[in-house]
Amino acid sequence: MKMFGKSYYEALFYLGIGFGVVIALNRRFKFLPDFAVGFLTGLSIVLMLVAGALRFREKYLKAAEIRRGDERMQMISGKAHEAAYYALLALGAVAILSFSFLGEAFIRAALGIAGAIFFLFIAQLIAGWIYAKRL
């Protein structure tokens, strides 16, 4: 199933219907907590409306197909992700330093951000290692 293709939106549409069925069953058997009912109802409506409408828009589907296969678009997307990644690292470093100076109450936040950055770094190393093997 190609992402953002017709079958992709059809799958999302039927997923929305599936959530609708779960909500209907819940009215009879009461097995979901209230927050889950609210979340699933919203998600079901959005999926049925958006995916249901997009799967019939041939022009949009064709444009999405071209965007997916277009090497320049892929390069732009890759560069945008890279820039966002470095911006996130810089912002994280500034946040860690700032929180460290704000006292003990902020140490947990600083450690949390440092942990997230460390995780990103490890994920990048692993992804780099996998791609180095493949390419």
């Binding site: 071209i66 965007r67 296969g69 277009d70 090497e71 320049r72 678009m73």
Partner: protein, 67 residues
């Protein structure tokens, strides 16, 4: 890298839109190629060369950086 893409496309009498459709890329990509802002992958270069029935070197002109 320079290229003769615009000249060849005009000679063939086709629009950027039609060339893009034939290559499976967006019209903006063809526009970027023609303006020299973007260099194609070897795969796209081959596709373009086959489309115009020319060799890659006849479409794309490689210029070494003079530093």
């Amino acid at each position: 890298m320079k290229n003769r893409l615009e000249e060849l496309r005009r000679k063939k009498g086709i629009s950027q839109e039609r060339l893009a459709e034939a290559m499976g890329v967006s019209r903006q990509t063809i526009n970027s190629l023609e303006n020299g802002r973007y260099n194609p992958s070897i795969k796209l270069a081959f596709k373009l060369a086959r489309y115009f029935d020319l060799s890659i070197e006849e479409i794309f002109i490689y210029e070494e950086d003079n530093k």
